[in-house]
């Protein structure tokens, strides 16, 4: 019954939370939107997802081995699979295999393991992978197509799918359509108004359901929202980041639209298109790269929302979730440094409370 030389400290009770359970729940929450995306865009999309996830897992395993760490239990935490999965969801569904593989390897190696692995990275790996792809291969990364659901007329079969993904054989006529945001941007630059631009685009219901051109897993706002709600209910994520991000984006989108509806699309377009919902629930909420306090998370989410609006409206890129999240990731250490909870028995500035009266005054005053 004697203890070993080094006694282990308490507590001798545990709530039962586990990292792999958390990652598993996030993957589960992604399933509906992913499944629908795979259905809409068929075999090439399935191939791309498989390639990306596999590449992410292999890159993680290779990095762990090079670093001299044990591969198996760490790979089992599911974080690499999740990174690959999230990256795949932001890719054009018929992109060639090497896009997914390059993005996943880049994300795992340069955005995760060079920092020291899980928990050490400054930037969201999936978004680093996506931005690297967007900058390096702008053409491949903006080749959208209208949905061609599985088992329907014109959808590629299994073999055709392999050809599209692995031999770059996307038929020229198949590649058509633009994402809503891209379309609006192009039309605006041609001097058309937003309402003209949106006239030819999918209506709101189609956008909510996801029947429009777009990235593999980003199209169905409704299913992403459902997944996000699942994460909220299971307490995997907390409300401040999604609430602040969506709220700020809606507010920032609505105000200029009221002033000049011809130049600025309304808030709903912002919320339902692009990676907004995926970003708000699944990407900006990444624990590692977001602030630790509720107030910090509110600031972080609001910053993401505002940046998304700014990038979409005034820069050359039609979509800005990835950039916005990465920029706010960079601000996270600063936010965590300045926004801390008030310590028990201390004022907000960290001085000990003098006596009860000070606290009551502070509460009344602030």
């Amino acid at each position: 019954m004697r203890e070993a030389k080094q006694p282990a400290g308490g507590p001798f009770a545990h709530g039962g939370g586990r990292v792999d359970r958390t990652m598993g729940l996030v993957l589960l929450a992604l399933l509906p939107a992913t499944g629908y995306g795979l259905y809409l865009f068929g075999w090439p999309a399935i191939n791309l997802l498989v390639v990306t996830v596999l590449a992410a897992a292999l890159a993680e395993a290779a990095c762990l081995r090079i670093a001299g760490r044990r591969v198996w239990p760490t790979l089992g935490d599911g974080s690499a699979v999740l990174t690959g999965w999230l990256l795949a969801m932001t890719l054009p569904p018929w992109a060639p295999w090497w896009i997914g593989a390059f993005g996943a390897v880049f994300a795992l190696v340069f955005a995760k393991h060079v920092y020291g692995g899980l928990g050490q990275n400054l930037f969201n790996p999936a978004m680093v992978g996506r931005v690297a792809l967007l900058i390096s291969f702008p053409l491949e990364m903006t080749r959208w197509l209208a949905p061609r659901p599985l088992m329907t007329e014109g959808a590629p079969g299994f073999l055709e799918g392999l050809e599209i993904t692995f031999l770059g054989g996307a038929p020229a006529d198949a590649v058509s359509g633009a994402s809503v945001l891209g379309h609006v941007k192009t039309e605006l630059s041609r001097g058309h108004t937003v309402s003209d631009a949106l006239a030819g685009a999918p209506d709101r219901i189609q956008m909510a359901l996801g029947q429009m051109p777009g990235s593999l897993g980003e199209t169905s706002a409704a299913l992403l929202l459902a997944g996000g709600l699942l994460l909220l209910v299971t307490r995997v994520i907390r409300w401040p980041i999604p609430a602040a991000m969506l709220g700020t984006l809606a507010a920032a989108g609505a105000a200029p639209h009221l002033i000049d509806p011809a130049r600025y699309p309304d808030a709903m377009v912002h919320l339902l298109s692009g990676a907004t919902l995926l970003g708000a629930f699944f990407i900006a909420t990444d624990y590692v790269t977001s602030p630790a306090t509720l107030r910090g998370q509110l600031i972080f989410g609001a910053g993401c929302g505002l940046l998304v609006f700014v990038i979409r409206t005034w820069t050359g890129y039609p979509e800005g979730v990835a950039f916005a999240v990465l920029l706010m990731n960079a601000a996270t250490p600063l936010i965590d440094r300045w926004v801390r909870p008030r310590v028990f028995g201390r004022t907000a500035r960290g001085r000990p409370l003098d006596h009860a009266a000070t606290l009551i005054e502070e509460r009344a005053g602030g």
Partner: protein, 176 residues
Amino acid sequence: MLTAIVSLTVIGLVLGAILGIAARLLKVEGDPLGGEIEALLPGTNCGQCGFPGCAAAARALAEGRAGVTLCPPGGRALVGDLAAKLGVEADLSAVEEDVPRIAFVNENLCVGCTRCFKRCDTDAVIGSAKQIHVIVQDACNGCGKCVEVCPTECISLRPQPVTLQTWHWPKPPLAA
């Protein structure tokens, strides 16, 4: 072109002048650092650092010829103080776990020669001629001078024993 050359030259001159004036005005007289560092060191001139005495060690530290981990009797506390004084990062984990070492007298071998008693810089040895000497733990900083002079080799340096009052939790093993 001319404007660029002129403006850059002016900027350069102005900044250079500011730097020059600052160097004059804010000039540090002498080097107070050595003295300040010496005040931190134990002052027993034990020589375990390899320098002849604490003053020499302090000069070496001030001139960057020695690292902040040079003083074994000072332990981690001193490393921290020196690092703060010199504004360097001290890798404390590299410092040998500093259970302070303390001299112990083997009472069976002590002949009461008083050599250690005379040699001790902190009066940590109690005893007189022909009587067994005892070391006051609180006054011994483990410099080891007494070990050198003992003719019967009855003094040894040993880690200070841990008691209920001084024990604390060890650092737990951490995943990478």
